[in-house]
Subunit: 317 residues, 2 copies
């Protein structure tokens, strides 16, 4: 059975490579120096899963011209990805990245994305109910469009649990905080890219992270993966606390998408074993391997295997 990847707020990712990018100037670029790729965390996970040979169904909301481009590009990406989106009227998000490799700058313009009408939201819920029984696992990842409540991750998880499906989440604090009140996933990985916050508190010390992880577990989550730039990861389960640390230097300019690869690799490994620590290690290794690539491509499984030797895991509690 395929994995269900929920991407509520997909985006069309645009990359423009412009050397000496300057304000108030006209820049000309060749077609080679611009890219259009499907984006949004849930979609990124599906793309990585496909690279690992795993089938997925991607669902969420899609609309507008940008949505059409995304769908068409996503279908071209891999035959292992099936799309099952609810169509809405408004344009999906567009994330423009202007990359100046000469001066090492990244200038971004991200649009806010659509507002989902209640009718389309209800349509999505009905569809989720129909699909859930027919998938092996469910991953819900990324931001929400307007019109969708922060508790939605919990609501979907409540539905999926009826069918005993393992659920994986990656999201920002406001979604986690509201959704955990409703239902808890198997694995939760907070998205710390914008803010290192959980339950409304900013995490600073090692103890802050461990305490927040333990609090996640008290909500019924089986494993919390607290990762920031994968250079100091903390894993918390009902059984204890582990630290993961790289034995090699991490190329920080290649971190884009490592969180999504982490999620995809944990799901991949879960097909083989229910040992949560093994799953976390595999996710970490995949994220580490991904930093060895310059562009936004999934790591090869051979490289993930190599990366398994490039970090240490230490039980601290």
């Amino acid at each position: 059975m395929p994995v269900l990847a929920v991407c509520m707020n997909p985006a069309l990712d645009r990359e423009f490579y412009v050397n000496d990018f300057t304000i108030d100037k006209l820049h000309r670029l060749t077609t080679k120096n611009s890219r259009m790729t499907p984006g949004g965390k849930g979609i990124n996970v599906a793309v990585d899963l496909a690279a690992f040979g795993i089938k997925s169904i991607v669902t969420g909301f899609i609309g507008g011209y940008l949505g059409e481009v995304l769908l068409s590009e996503l279908r071209n990406t891999s035959e292992l990805i099936t799309t099952n989106f609810v169509h809405i009227e408004e344009e999906i998000r567009e994330n423009i990245a202007i990359i100046d490799e000469k001066n090492h700058t990244l200038t971004e313009i991200n649009s806010s994305g659509p507002s989902v009408p209640l009718e389309d939201f209800q349509h999505f819920l009905r569809r989720f109910n129909l699909i859930s029984p027919n998938v092996s696992m469910i991953v819900i990842s990324g931001s929400l469009p307007l019109g969708i409540p922060n508790s939605i991750y919990g609501e979907l998880t409540k539905v999926a649990k009826k069918y005993n499906k393992p659920i994986f989440w990656e999201a920002r604090d406001e979604i986690i905080t509201e959704s955990l009140k409703v239902s808890a996933p198997l694995v939760l990985k907070p998205d710390f890219r914008r803010e290192k916050k959980l339950f409304g508190r900013t995490l600073e010390s090692e103890k802050d992270y461990i305490d927040a992880g333990k609090e996640v577990i008290r909500f019924g989550v089986k494993m919390a993966v607290l990762s920031y730039k994968i250079d100091y990861d903390i894993i918390v389960t009902e059984d204890g606390v582990w630290f993961l640390r790289p034995l090699i230097e991490i190329e920080h300019s290649h971190l884009l998408g490592t969180g999504d690869t982490y999620m995809a690799a944990m799901i991949y490994k879960y097909f083989e074993t229910n040992d949560l620590i093994e799953i976390a290690k595999y996710g970490y290794a995949a994220a580490l391997a991904k930093t060895w690539y310059k562009t936004k491509v999934p790591p090869k499984l051979d490289d993930v295997k190599k990366a398994l030797e490039k970090f240490k895991i230490e039980r601290v509690e």
Copy 2:
């Protein structure tokens, strides 16, 4: 009969309104602050003609996702516009304008556009041959994609002259220079936005402009309209030389698209009269009226009428 507007190198125009636009920063914007509109000079002329109530057929090359968006938006613009493009595989141009109204900056990223295969070029020529007899006038305007020779304006004009169609050109020097060797249009307006050049010479003095205009006429053109930022226009015909000067202040930040409006208004007037000076005056008035609007919209005919009183015309030779 409709006007045929030839737009060989259409573009999707993107506008992003970002206050305090800064390099190496992430900017978020709402959907309201971004726009997608069909662009390319020939298309802009067709849009202005539609606003004046005149039917047109737009032709040229279109391709890719951006091409699909352009076509769909253009069809939504007016029922008076019919599209008849040759479809190519590559993406059309995308012109991104990042407008910071707070700091009065305009940062642009323009893609180079497609390369047209010979087969598609030949397809276009056959189609142009079929359409030309069935239109009232032909306007050819704007740049060329790769694969199309600079002499194409002349070649198309040679064809259209067989059917006695009045032809209008607006183009940059390299196209004019090569195309005039083949055939001459009724009205020629050089596009001086990037370079004030004609026949490879940079124009500086009043005399340079007049001499260049006279040279254009020697090639068989009936009227040369030498306009730059419409604050000092020179009209040259077989009969003499005229100056057009505004009697009011021109808002230079609103000059975008005035050249296209100039062309559309001259064509509009040609339905009424063959008096070339009357046509030029009407084009000038429309361009002037257009500067009264902040956004890229065609001027109302009432405003064009008002603008006819806001400049003076003086015969100098």
